[in-house]
Amino acid sequence: MSFADIAALTIHDVKNRLAHLAGLAEGRGDTETLRTALEASEALTHLLAFYKSENGILNLVVNDHSPSDLLVELANDTKGLRAILVDVDHGQAPTLWFYDEVLVRMVLSNAVQNAFRYARERIVISAIEQDECLEFSVHDDGAGYPDSVLVDSGASAAVTRDGTGLGLRLAKRIAEMHKNQDRCGDTRLYNDNGAVFKLILPK
């Protein structure tokens, strides 16, 4: 058995334990422990996805999905766990789009986690069709990204202790895996009264 196999099995086991822990915490209304267990588990999901993308075995399964549904789900996932509100703006979202929902959910959920760290009062998540592409945005009202991160949409951002760099790199890879005809997806980071993370997916 290789180290990678053992690591994969261990991650699986740890995730089961975290799921159990999350269940116990939720059962007794312990929000802080629940949130920590969910975040720890999400970090492991990222690690595994990153490993797979490094080895070319991260598969994309593109199907038709409703961007609005995904946004509502992301906002609901944080309900009761955080003091800061997540507002959903899906008024201009297209009814349907084609993407890998699991991977896109993972990317956006990570962007929302990051936003929580810097937001002062609120986070807005939205989806809009722009130039034949779907643009998901996560917008917080914090201090914005430092210049070092803005350089290339975080693709070469250092992996910090909180895993920010890893999340951004993975986001870019997953965006780029979404291709249709000659176009492929991308991520964009900029500041506009706070930090804006964009995930752009071609039609």
């Binding site: 991650i11 699986h12 995730k15 089961n16 975290l18 799921a19 159990h20 999350a22 269940g23 116990l24 939720e26 059962g27 629940l34 267990a37 969910l38 588990s41 999901t45 595994l48 996805a49 797979k52 598969n59 399964v61 038709d64 409703s66 609005s68 549904d69 509502v72 789900e73 609901n76 996932d77 309900k79 009761g80 766990l81 009814t95 349907l96 084609f98 890998d100 699991v102 991977l103 993972m106 249709n180």
Partner: protein
């Protein structure tokens, strides 16, 4: 007290081998005000639960103890029709890698959840899925009834609404066009879908429609395109394999099924199809390999099947390993107690014991095989019994069994090939040909007799003769289609008879399912239209 939710009245089943996970899921579910909750730690318990209650939602962990995984279990439930189209099946998994398993799977779950998740996330997901089921409820019901024309109309309504179920409706409509043999319309429709976006399901639909319209070469080229552009889309491999089998190209069929099983090594269904093709082409080593995998995966599981055991016993016997074959027979005898299973296993045993040099045991096994064979034998059991009769010197019994098989499935090259193979050491090609000719003659005679009766105005007698024959030979499309037609003629001439019309429609569906471009289907459709007109029916009778 929990608040009422739109799903409080739903019945939900939790399947997870870890007691901790079951109890935390249970807590989450009760916070959603769902009170009717069943719990199962094993597949066996889950099957018992499903027997006693009708569940609306099934939450199943992908990893289950005991060798069988959640996906294999779902395949089993769907292929055995143990859960309704309306039942939500949600797979729970610990990793993102599951989606590649899912695409490669035979049957897709309605959704899957990455654990851990909160009760709130579960609620959002339930609402979304139940909303979809509600939107598609009418279409689902019509699909269950096989009312394909109505399905396309109901889908058109959803397509026109352009809501988020647009693509779901397109997928179902395309399938309905193929199922109702409207191949030209289906080809046009799928080409439009593909122009929108080259979705693998639309490409597969196009391949099916092309095959149905008789353009097999084009169908194959579309399938090959899917295999190279979406290598995880296994349904394309399966159809390609089936086309190769129809063309008598066992080698090509095996090779395509092999590549499919490399993509999805845990699919029991696929290993089983490999064994069927390998057995037909006499590749017993390959049968042994495939069936060993299946038996290992279903050991001590309710998903185990006597046919798998019989196949392995036969392969081992052919390979000369009668010791292992006999050990397997002993083991299988303790697991399978149903009459049909005993017949099949005894037939396999009769051959093995004869080859192992135990003629007395072989004779006893053959007696068991033949005496318990009440009613119509499935094809695999019939072949096994015929083989056992031949091995034990009872040629006449073998011929009688084989005649039924040929008459039931007269155009199958697989059947003809297997019979030729069986008779190799018992009269050879000449005897096999003689058997096929005399069997075919009987069918022609039966048809002629019925036509004679109809010509003499005895429509009821004719339809009765053919309907009885159709019940005996449900796979003989000539008989089945003629039976449907003559029942309808009988109704048209002698007056409305709802039972006869229903029987005719069931037979018509059977023909559509097996051979969508059977020439008799046009006659059946015409006489149905006349009946509707004569008895002023607005809907299907």
């Amino acid at each position: 007290m929990s608040a009422q939710t739109p799903y409080s009245d739903k019945r939900l089943l939790i399947i997870d081998d870890l007691p901790d996970m079951r109890s935390s899921l249970r807590t989450q579910i009760s916070s959603l005000a769902i009170e009717k909750v069943g719990m199962a730690g094993t597949i066996k318990e889950a099957l018992e639960q499903l027997k006693t209650h009708k569940y609306d939602i099934i939450l199943c962990d992908y990893y289950l103890a005991g060798g069988t995984d959640g996906q294999q279990f779902l395949d089993y439930l769907r292929t055995k029709n143990l859960i309704a189209r309306a039942t939500l099946f949600i797979m729970i998994t610990a990793e993102t890698g599951y989606e590649s398993v899912v695409t490669a799977a035979e049957c897709l779950p309605d959704d899957y959840l990455l654990k851990p998740f909160t009760a709130e996330s579960l609620r959002t997901r339930f609402e979304r899925l139940l909303e979809k089921k509600a939107r598609l409820a009418k279409v689902d019901r019509l699909q269950d009834q096989g009312a394909w024309l109505e399905v396309t109309i109901a889908c058109d309504e959803i397509i026109a609404a352009k809501d988020k179920y647009l693509v779901d409706a397109m997928r179902i409509k395309g399938n309905a066009l193929v199922m109702s043999a409207q191949f030209a319309a289906a080809i046009e429709f799928y080409q439009k879908c593909i122009a929108l976006r080259p979705m693998p399901w639309a490409q597969l639909g196009l391949a099916k429609a092309l095959r149905g319209s008789g353009d097999v070469e084009k169908s194959k080229s579309v399938l090959n395109e899917i295999v190279s552009s979406s290598p995880k889309f296994l349904a394309a491999y399966d159809l390609l394999g089936r086309i190769h089998i129809d063309e008598g190209k066992d080698k090509e069929a095996l090779s395509i099924l092999d590549s499919a099983s490399r993509v999805s090594p845990n699919s029991l269904t696929r290993q089983r199809s490999i064994a069927v093709v390998a057995e037909a082409s006499g590749d017993h080593a390959r049968v042994e390999q495939a069936m060993t995998i299946v038996l290992k995966n279903t050991k001590n599981s309710p998903l185990r099947e006597a046919t798998d055991h019989a196949k392995l016993i036969n392969a081992l016997t052919e390979l000369g390993d009668t010791t292992r074959a006999i050990a397997l027979i002993t083991e299988a005898k303790t697991s399978f107690k149903e009459v049909g299973d005993i017949a099949l296993l005894s037939a396999a045993e009769a051959v093995t014991q004869q080859k192992a040099g135990h003629p007395e045991l072989a004779k006893q096994a053959l007696e068991r095989a033949l005496q318990s064979g009440v009613g119509k034998l499935p094809q695999s059991t019939a072949f096994a019994s015929a083989k056992a009769c031949l091995a034990n010197g009872r040629q006449d019994d073998a011929m009688a069994i084989l005649k039924d098989v040929i008459q039931d499935d007269p155009d199958s090259s697989t059947v003809q090939g297997r019979i030729a193979d069986l008779m190799k050491d018992h009269g050879g090609a000449e005897k096999a040909q003689e058997l096929m000719t005399s069997s075919a003659k009987e069918i022609i005679q039966l048809n002629n007799n019925a036509v004679g009766k109809a010509k003499a105005g005895e429509y009821a007698t004719a339809s009765k003769m053919l309907a009885e024959a159709a019940a005996r030979l449900p796979n003989n499309m000539q008989i089945v289609s003629n039976a449907a037609f003559s029942l309808l003629v009988d109704v048209f001439m002698n007056g409305m008879d709802a039972a006869k019309v229903r029987e005719a429609l069931t037979l018509q569906q059977a023909v559509l399912k097996k051979d969508g471009h059977h020439p008799k289907l046009v006659d059946i459709a015409n006489i149905l239209a006349k009946i509707k007109q004569k008895y002023s029916l607005t809907d299907n009778p």
